[in-house]
């Protein structure tokens, strides 16, 4: 449920773990801005429409679905729990790990916030990173989680909208995580990669290193801000500003001749106006440069702590902006490129706007496989938001 659109993919799962996409829907979003529901009635209407279209496309009735969430109400932080190794021979056991994990997750957020995701990071055994500490020798075990919590009211509103049309939400995912999963390979996550999903209302990012999610973040800045900046700068209606952005938008610093003009409509009617391409670029460049600077500032402590050299991948509607890779590379100080959806999806889904739902399908498949094999480690939606509905 984004600011610009509500997207649904319907996938058919068959044992052992095969997946086939059988339907999809993408409808313009209303009543949602910057990851928040501003107008419940409008948001409900477009979500309902998207579900109906998806059902029609797939020829099935949707009984449950997965949902991704975004918005700056999501906050992430590294939570660490410590435990002394209790075994006489200093061998780490389940009991020690359990105590460390429990302590890491002990933090109480208060009634207004709810944890939505605990993302495990490497354990530290006597300060040294280890993936699996069991049976290793040491004195102190530390469990580390990148924990993400949400504003309970905002989350409840979104879930209620969906719940009014389908009986069950199987799970909720962080938008940045699902996009990160679909755009990156295991090798990239090992070597270090930053994934940016720049949508209409928000920019979600996730930083991977050593195969782990080191941090996630959301900025309430997206393509709508570019449109708004143009609208304010040139005193033109939103639709006209959007047209300028799409037709002439460029992220790189100002270049080209000073007399390079473009007309809004080109028919010289009242309301038609001409604009300097350089002025358009200047407005967009200022916004995009600031966005990348904010991301850089957010990830810098982790980059320095982990001594990480990584690259950046971008997706979302704004990733279509001309020369955005150049600007991202300059500001983020790392190689940057546009992300590509997996080759196994059809051409119509090979667009940045579909990365999110494709990632959710992958997560859903994982969730299904884990539940069938009984190896599910994450708590699922109920575990995540236990006590949530009673608040």
């Amino acid at each position: 449920m984004g600011t610009a659109k509500v997207s649904i993919l319907v996938a058919e799962l068959s044992p052992p773990s095969k997946l086939k996409i059988i339907g999809r829907a993408m409808v313009p979003s209303r009543g949602i801005r910057k990851g928040r529901v501003l107008n419940v009635r409008e948001a409900t209407t477009c979500v309902h429409r998207a579900i109906r279209e998806a059902e029609k496309s797939a020829g099935v009735n949707l009984k449950s679905l997965y949902m991704s969430i975004s918005g700056s109400h999501l906050k992430g932080e590294l939570q660490v729990g410590k435990a002394q190794v209790s075994h006489s021979a200093r061998i780490v056991t389940d009991y020690d790990v359990g105590r460390a994990v429990e302590e890491a997750k002990r933090r109480d957020l208060g009634p207004d916030r709810v944890f939505v995701q605990y993302i495990r990071n490497p354990f530290l055994l006597d300060g040294k990173k280890v993936d699996e500490p069991y049976s290793l020798r040491g004195n102190e075990i530390q469990a580390c989680f990148w924990a993400v919590h949400a504003d309970a009211r905002v989350l409840r509103e979104q879930m209620q909208i969906v719940n009014s049309f389908v009986s069950r939400i199987d799970d909720i995912f962080l938008s940045s995580l699902v996009v990160g999963r679909v755009l990156t390979s295991e090798e990239q996550r090992q070597s270090g990669v930053l994934v940016l999903d720049i949508g209409a209302g928000t920019t979600d990012f996730v930083l991977y290193g050593d195969g782990y999610v080191l941090m996630t973040g959301v900025l309430d800045v997206g393509g709508d801000h570019i449109t708004n900046d143009l609208s304010v700068a040139f005193k033109i209606p939103w639709e006209s500003a959007e047209r300028l952005k799409v037709d002439y938008g460029k992220a790189t610093p100002v270049e080209g001749p000073a007399d390079d003009w473009v007309w809004l409509r080109g028919d010289l009617s009242i309301g038609d106006r001409r604009f300097s391409k350089r002025a358009i670029q200047r407005v967009i460049h200022a916004r995009m440069e600031e966005l990348f600077q904010l991301v850089r500032r957010a990830i810098l402590p982790v980059l320095e702590r982990e001594d990480l050299r990584c690259s950046a991948l971008m997706t979302g509607g704004v990733a279509r902006l001309t020369a955005i890779e150049n600007l991202a590379g300059q500001v983020l100080k790392m190689p940057a490129a546009s992300g590509r959806n997996p080759d196994w999806v059809i051409n119509e889904l090979q667009v940045p706007e579909m990365s999110n739902v494709l990632g959710q399908v992958q997560f859903a498949l994982q969730d299904y496989s884990d539940s069938v094999s009984g190896s599910r480690k994450t708590p699922g939606l109920f575990g995540k938001v236990k006590g949530f509905w009673s608040k």
Binding site: N228, S231, A233, F234, P237, D259, L268, F275, R282, A286
Partner: protein, 403 residues
Amino acid sequence: MTVSLKPVSDVKIGVIGLGRTGRKVLERMRIRSAWDVDAVCYDCDLEVMGVSSPWFGCECLGVGMLHGLGCGGQVELGQSVAFGSEEAVRAWLVGKSMVVMLLGAGGGFSGGFAPEVADWAKEMGIPVLCVASMPFSFEGISRIDSARRTIDILRDSSMAVVTVEMDDMLLWAGDESWAQPVIELGLDWMQHAAASILGLVEEDGLFAFDLTTLRQVFDLGFSKTLFITGEGEGQNAVDDAISQIMGFADLRLPDSEVIVDRMLVALNGGASLGVADVNRINQTISKRFRKPARSFFGATIEEGDAKVSIGVFLSIGLGGGEQGQSVVSDGGSTGDPEGGSVPAARTRPLKPTGGEKGDAQGYFDVLIRESNRGVFEDTEPNLVNGEDLDVPTFLRRGIRIKT
């Protein structure tokens, strides 16, 4: 209430009618004897010129070159006539405080002649207000293109170009109308636009309105100005005039399409026109056009006139006016009826809008206010590191954007 009809003695306005359209508009104009107005009509077509009117002179130019025939739609010929008449026209311009130029864009003579006159006036420091009709779209793409080029050039060298589009007149009169009444309507609107401006500057009316104020109205640099007029008579004169304005606005300017930078409401009525009426007109019109950034209001009183007429000028800045920019490039030369060569239409460099004026008008004031949040106005502040990210970045960083 004291109403003074004393003319403003030191403002001499020149009115130039160009070609057939210019002459017809001049013939319609109600120029009052108290006004200090000097009018002339220029053309190269003897048949059109006819005889001089009691209040304006007629001069047929370029007779040696064109033998009193027209330009046949060729702008280059109109420009050549201008080059040959520069001395005479400049002499006529001397002493004028302002010039109102009336023309039908799309014609060869006016298309070539008007930009030159505007340039000379500009060099002499005389502000020029052009009132031009745009051809019907059914007159063909070449005529429309020619008209657009002329308007574009005039926008650069004039204080303002008020366009009256004949397609709008057709729309306003209704598809069933005959061509002649629609053309008459267009001419009426043009004369109304010009007369409104003359009245405001020349009359000492209800509200003080001088040439300096007028320059503020149109001081937008490269801009587009639309004129709408409404007229009423009798008991419901004000309501009728307002409803005509609103009706045309609804027809031509859908609410979501236009953001107006400057608005001038020029009101003319009889002595019975009260201040309450004036306020009502002002408020209604301002509301309809979304309270433009700057609004101006002027009213003149004609004793014994039971009519109320309202003229609304809506200006929208188009940006531009940068030095060295080429607007029109009509290459090639054209044959001279006398066998000589006519200078090729020159590439007209866009003149700078004038250092101080350009700098002041070309940029936004850098103001960081809540109202700069645009569509995010109703959302909570998007605060990061003490900055509201919903406010455009260029404003927060003080980046100047040429508009």
